[in-house]
Symmetry: C2
Amino acid sequence: MAGELAFIARLRDLAGHPAARGLNDDCAVLEVGSETLILTHDALAQGVHYLASQDMADVAWRLVATNLSDLAAKGAQPLGVLIGYTLGRDDDRFLDGLGEALRHYDVPLLGGDTITAQGPRTLGLTAIGRATHRPVPSRGGAQTGDGVWITGAVGAAMIGLEALQSGEHDPALSLPYRRPDALLAKGQALAPLVTAMMDVSDGLLLDAHRIGTASDVTLAIDSTDVPLAAPEHRRDEALRWGDDYQLLFTLPEDVQPPVTAYRIGKVLARQGAPLMLDGRLLADADHLGWQHEG
Amino acid sequence: MAGELAFIARLRDLAGHPAARGLNDDCAVLEVGSETLILTHDALAQGVHYLASQDMADVAWRLVATNLSDLAAKGAQPLGVLIGYTLGRDDDRFLDGLGEALRHYDVPLLGGDTITAQGPRTLGLTAIGRATHRPVPSRGGAQTGDGVWITGAVGAAMIGLEALQSGEHDPALSLPYRRPDALLAKGQALAPLVTAMMDVSDGLLLDAHRIGTASDVTLAIDSTDVPLAAPEHRRDEALRWGDDYQLLFTLPEDVQPPVTAYRIGKVLARQGAPLMLDGRLLADADHLGWQHEG
């Protein structure tokens, strides 16, 4: 992980354009003429981000949904995707899942590149959207006194991955991991109201820590208020598990969310750390979620 | 290759949006508000598109330049790039080369994804540009009677790769392969005048065949008129070698190119094949260039 953080620090030096948002956001926000474009690129590596044995239709869905989830956190309307595909096992299943996801989200495939390579595959996808509301939500706008909200339960993907790894035959149990949902409509409804927003891809606590850091405030979260899609004794794990793709956002105290959402805490003036869990400050981002260690 | 062609045929079924241009072009051309965006994504696989032993600074340059070359063929002005990077050997050298290329082309890094993966790496880059002239040049507009032109010599990358593989110590000899140039200014100057244009990435003959196919005409090329950056006895190879990234275009008979370029043939009404070389029709695209066999 040290290598990745050092790499990203140097990459940040190359990303001085305001559209890059200092690489501190999940998307680039680029003004072009009268439009504001939202751009994101995510890659999935076999054996790291998906199981080598997984149904490639599910991998395709995941590749689409994780990128569209980044657009959702910006309140963006998707315009299309470009795919970077490496041929290999079950290409037809990949195409099945890609088609299902694109139809589900009504997003066109615009182009990309198909290559042959050696070894485990890396698959990439770029999603392009347009902002439906400006300013575009960021991680950096949470204000003291705001409420902290989440659109739904965490832990479903954790349970889903375990079901998949155990060879569980009921596909419904692994569905939340295999086919995450990008909350595009919720993101668009929330964008005009939120002070900060992101999608929970790396763990609720880690992502809350990131909003607190970017906004220079402290997010105080009550763990028992977080809706759970896992057994109660696994609450601590579920708070640190990613892949649920709920939207985490902050709202002024007097604003109610226009979509189903759960209030899980409050924004405090900056204390000694960007995150407080059940009254305890958590300064160190380690052990709060998935930090791309590979 | 059969697998790749079958895959792309099915992918094309998913790319019905007009912006995708039927996946028959190197870029997507997307109307957004009053702007026309040009979008492209290319991937480089270690051991396939670059040598495992290569200087990663050169690989970074190549990743940037090949994508910007696609924009050049559309007469586009680059707005930025997103990178899909897999950590590995010589990440610092990669960043050196990435910085050099971005500064050289004055293109901002907007975002992307940095991951850890196993085995040989696949690196991806998405470039976004805006059209400087509409309609945006395509492969499909060549007209009977047009001249066929190329911006410069072919064969330099072939000689450069051989120098690199032989361990040649004069870096100037391998430079055309290691650091291809994206002809952005030439592309922008040509875009208002050309009837068809593309960049020569896969071999002059193969790419001319593609323009002939897309335009439903026959490009008649005189091989001796093609400027050569290789020994004369290797002319046939150089005509089939990619990686030179010259612009290949067609112009009405009475139009002179506003930039240095070489006339190498003429567009004929469709004969029995999309390409004629020295009076001989070449129907089969095999053996005309690099068809991504891996």
